[in-house]
Structure formats: structure tokens, C-alpha cells
């Protein structure tokens, strides 16, 4: 059965994202993909999709979407007061919508990105192995750009009639102050012990200039930057760079593939989804752990998904 929706209001920055693209970084093409992979997986599971299905990622403000058919949907991530035809709609639960239903999501109250999964196979083109939108390069997703009023999304729906709910222990709590666990980056030792202590001890504010490429942080004081010259080298989402300004940047999913700033730390894989939920003006601190602990955290997280998202 063919389903579709029409965009009445695309919100602030709504794009299609999935698990991202690999194999093209030697051309300078970033990974892209959902910033909060945790909510992405939960929403897809609720909608009866394979967990790596593309999804709508809505940033700070959701928008209004009118369904031209029945659909099975689910919402996870930041709380944007979802309503269907003016009535409160649940999050973290399978929702059946009817032809003509209007889904409205407002400004986000906690977190930063909300995810809308729609059951079925979307009729959009894969670009270099992924459906993810990379807006700076104008490719992927829906015409390589954010959703606009009048856009239409169409899909082939299967016959999923499930009614799922997420176990409470998997539902994230979004705070205005967050601690991210990090491991040392290749240039961590470019900071002397005093500078390392300062970097790890400080609280940073998330700047409004943050986006999918990078989360810009502002510390109470500037961090000292080594005057050593670094030749451009690989970067990854989660890498914490320390540019000349003395204010660190956490690279996001659309982050550059190489960079010339010291990579002082890297957010651990298990905490990467939380990077996608840092709203402007919220606070961030870092906690250094070793790589073995980081791997154990990731394994624990993978086991949780295996058990709960069957």
C-alpha cells in the first residue's frame, strides 16, 4: 500500500537521516546520519521498521505534517509536545494515524532533536549507500535539503499492526547539564597536566552556532593551545578539537573528514547519541575514562538493544 504525507510546516531544521554513509571519507564526504542514534533506533522499532531505516530528524522545532493515508508512526527523542489534530500524542509508543490526520510538533522543551519514524519503505533515492541528508553538499534525503512547506514524502507500507511501547529503562532523560565521557585524543598530551586538568574540570556552554557539523562550546576561560603546528589529519564524529580560539568543538555527524586542530579527546561511542541532544545554552562537562571502559559501555549498550528491540 502506498502512503504519503505533506509538509505543512517543516519546522526549523528537519532532514532525513539513517545510519550514515561509509567508504567515501577519502573524498572528503562525511558520515552524516542521525545525530541521536538511540532515539532513531527506538522510533524505528516502535514503528515496526528495521532499526536502520531512514527517519525524520527534527531540530529544536518539529513542524506540521499532514497524512494523506493511514500510517504507523512513532516519535522518540527530544520532547516537542507532539499533537495529532490538536490532541496530545504519545512518545515512545506505536501510533496509528488516519487519512487526514495532522501531526504537529512544537518547540523542544528538553533535548534538541526529535525523531519521527514512519513504517514502510520510503520512496527516496539512496546516495552513496545512504539516505542521509548532507545539507552543505546539497545531497541525500529529500533533494539534499531541509523540509519545506509543500514537500511530500511517499512510502510503500507493509502490514505491521503491532502496538509497541519502550521499556522505561530505555527512555532517555534530557537535562540542561550533561557530562559526556571521553577518551584521550591523539593530541591529548599536547596539553600539559595543568591544562589537561583545566580541560576536564571546566563546565562549557553549548553555543547557538552549533549544528550537525559541530557542537561549539564556550568555557568559563579559554584553554591554552599548543603552538605546535599540526598537519591536517583524520577526524571523526565525537572528536573534540581545540582550535586557536581556545574553545573546544565536538564534531558532529556532518563534521569535516580531516582537520588541522589538535584532537584533544573523543566522546565515547556509547555517549555519541547524547551529543545529538545538546541544546544551545545547555551545559557540558567531560569525564575521562579509558578505552577498555569505553568499549565495555558500548557492548552493554549493544546488548540492551539486542534484548529490548527484538
Amino acid at each position: 500500500m502506498i502512503g504519503s504525507l505533506t509538509v505543512n510546516d517543516g519546522g526549523l531544521f528537519t532532514t532525513i537521516q539513517d545510519g550514515g554513509r561509509s567508504g567515501y571519507r577519502k573524498y572528503g564526504i562525511p558520515v552524516s546520519g542521525a545525530m541521536d542514534t538511540h532515539s532513531w533506533k527506538l522510533a524505528n522499532w516502535l514503528a515496526g521498521n528495521p532499526l536502520d531505516t531512514p527517519i525524520l530528524e527534527m531540530t529544536l522545532k518539529g513542524g506540521v505534517y499532514e497524512f494523506n493515508s493511514q500510517a504507523v508512526i512513532a516519535i522518540a527523542g527530544a520532547e516537542m509536545k507532539p499533537e495529532i489534530n490538536g490532541e496530545k500524542a504519545p512518545m515512545y509508543k506505536t501510533i496509528q494515524v488516519q487519512h487526514g490526520d495532522k501531526l504537529q510538533l512544537g518547540y523542544c522543551r528538553k533535548g534538541c532533536r526529535s525523531y519521527l519514524a514512519i513504517q514502510g519503505k520510503w520512496e527516496i533515492d539512496k546516495m552513496m549507500g545512504s539516505y542521509s541528508t548532507y545539507t552543505p553538499g546539497v545531497f541525500g534525503g529529500l533533494k539534499g535539503r531541509v523540509f519545506k512547506k509543500g514537500d511530500r514524502l511517499q512510502w510503500q507500507s507493509a502490514k505491521f499492526k503491532g502496538d509497541r511501547e519502550i521499556d522505561r529503562k530505555l527512555i532517555p532523560h534530557f537535562a540542561s547539564s550533561n557530562t559526556l565521557r571521553v577518551i584521550k585524543g591523539p593530541e591529548f598530551d599536547w596539553m600539559n597536566p595543568q591544562e589537561q586538568k583545566q580541560f576536564l574540570g571546566m563546565t562549557y556552554m553549548v553555543s547557538a552556532e552549533s549544528n550537525r557539523m559541530g557542537i561549539r562550546l564556550k568555557g568559563e576561560e579559554k584553554l591554552e593551545v599548543s603552538s605546535r603546528q599540526m598537519s591536517s589529519s583524520a577526524t571523526l564524529p565525537g572528536v573534540v578539537q581545540l582550535p586557536q580560539s581556545g574553545h573546544p568543538v565536538i564534531l558532529g555527524k556532518d563534521g569535516q573528514t580531516v582537520g588541522g586542530y589538535p584532537r584533544i579527546a573523543k566522546v565515547v561511542e556509547a555517549d555519541m547519541w547524547r551529543v545529538g541532544q545538546l541544546p544551545p545554552s545547555s551545559y557540558v562537562g567531560f569525564k575521562l575514562i579509558d578505552i577498555e571502559e569505553a568499549k565495555a559501555l558500548k557492548e552493554y549498550q549493544q546488548a540492551l538493544y539486542r534484548e529490548n528491540l527484538k
Binding site: Y24, G28, M128, P136, G137, P186, S232, S233, Q256, E269
Partner: protein
């Protein structure tokens, strides 16, 4: 934590770039020939390394990205070394590209003249005389780093990066020459523009040139620039 890896008759310092990526940094540092990076990248790309999904070559380093959590450095190093050994690999011959540039469309002539102490015509001459090698690509899709820029026209990047640099901009960033395939912010000194586009996400591979290819620049007028650009757009 650092361990040595032997690859392509060279020694590499191997470290973790996160739980799912390795960073191989050339042990000889600045003196690494870019050709060694290219041939090593080629070898790694053609070896069957368990779980490796991406590779990011740079000037003195190569990063390997995996879709799995990594084991110890020793285990990962021996995995790589065992996959690479006994394999003789012939790299494809580098292609040679002629790239038209309209120098009248430069944006930072004054800064480059001031810094080098040379008039525009002399700078253009040095730029045209260079034999360039595509050193690497990144930081954004299709940005092309060229090595081989004449020392006389080295010029530091802008103190205040531009908010928008046009696609096709040809620039100087320190000792490197470079080209932007996408409209983007950037700090390079722009001395001209090429009507060619190297990046097309609808094609595989999405970038028409490859690391190791040779490039020479050819001077064109603004009228020629417009004519070629119209042709390029028409083809799409």
C-alpha cells in the same frame, strides 16, 4: 599508547582514534613522501581487513575506520600485517589533468601580493609553472589539496575566514594549493576560479580526480570561464 606497524617498507606509529578507528602516523613525520601515503592507502584499501569500512589518508597519517569495536593494538596490527604481507600491488598510473583557471576572479589578490611582495602577474606565472600532485581530499566533499606550490608564492591563510567561498575557487593556504568543489566557508587566499566541478554525488566515484594524480593550471579569460561553466551546467 603507541605501537609500531610495518607497512609498505615504512614504519608507522599506530594508536587508537576512538574505539572503532586506528590512526597510523608515519614514523618519519614531515619527511614522509606523499607517494608513500598514497601507495599505503591503496594497499590497505585492497587488503581484506576485518571490519574496516573507511579509510582517511592525510599528509602524514592514514586513519582506518571500523564497524566494530577494536581489540588490542597488538591484535589489530598483526591482523593488518598478515593481510598485507606477500601482496605485491601495482598502483594505477596517475592521471594528468589540465585545469583552466580565471585569475581575474581571484578575491584575495591584495593580500597575496602584500605577503609575497610580488606583483599579480609574477604570482600567476609561478602558479602556472607548478607541477602539482593531488595530495589529499577533505575536509569537505571534493576539496582538493595540491602539493607542489612554488615557495615564492606561499601565503598564510586569512585571519578571518570568509563566510562563503564560491565553488571552483582556487586558492593558496600556506604551502599548499587547493580547490573548493563546494560553496563553503573557508580561510584560503583565493587567487582565481575554475569553471570545472570535481564533485558529483550522483556519480561513483563522486570525485573525478584521485589522490596521486598530476595537475597543471591553464589561464583562461572570464569569457572563456562563462562559456565552460555554461557547458558544464548544460551537461547536468
Amino acid at each position: 599508547m603507541l605501537k609500531l606497524l610495518h607497512l609498505n617498507n615504512a614504519k608507522w606509529e599506530c594508536s587508537f582514534l576512538g574505539e572503532q578507528a586506528l590512526l597510523l602516523t608515519s614514523a618519519v613525520g614531515d619527511d614522509t613522501a606523499i607517494e608513500v601515503i598514497h601507495s599505503s592507502t591503496y594497499m590497505l584499501n585492497h587488503a581484506n581487513i576485518f571490519g574496516m569500512v573507511d579509510i582517511i589518508p592525510a599528509y602524514q597519517s592514514i586513519a582506518l575506520v571500523y564497524d566494530r569495536l577494536l581489540e588490542s593494538l597488538d591484535q589489530e596490527i598483526s591482523r593488518i600485517e598478515s593481510q598485507i604481507s606477500d601482496k605485491s600491488i601495482t598502483m594505477p598510473d596517475p592521471a594528468k589533468h589540465r585545469l583552466p583557471v580565471c585569475y581575474e576572479m581571484g578575491l584575495d589578490w591584495k593580500a597575496v601580493e602584500d605577503h609575497t611582495g610580488l606583483p599579480k602577474d609574477a604570482i600567476i606565472k609561478y602558479h602556472l609553472n607548478g607541477n602539482y600532485i593531488i595530495a589529499m581530499m577533505g575536509f569537505i566533499p571534493g576539496f582538493i589539496y595540491l602539493s607542489g606550490l612554488d615557495k615564492k608564492i606561499h601565503c598564510p591563510r586569512r585571519e578571518n575566514p570568509r563566510i562563503e567561498i564560491p565553488a571552483g575557487a582556487v586558492g593558496i593556504g600556506g604551502s599548499q594549493a587547493g580547490m573548493y568543489s563546494l560553496k563553503s566557508p573557508g580561510g584560503w587566499q583565493i587567487i582565481g576560479q575554475t569553471p570545472h566541478s570535481f564533485f558529483n554525488p550522483r556519480e561513483i566515484p563522486p570525485v573525478k580526480v584521485k589522490a596521486g594524480d598530476r595537475c597543471v593550471f591553464e589561464r583562461i579569460t572570464e569569457a572563456e570561464f562563462r562559456k565552460i561553466r555554461e557547458g558544464v551546467n548544460h551537461d547536468r
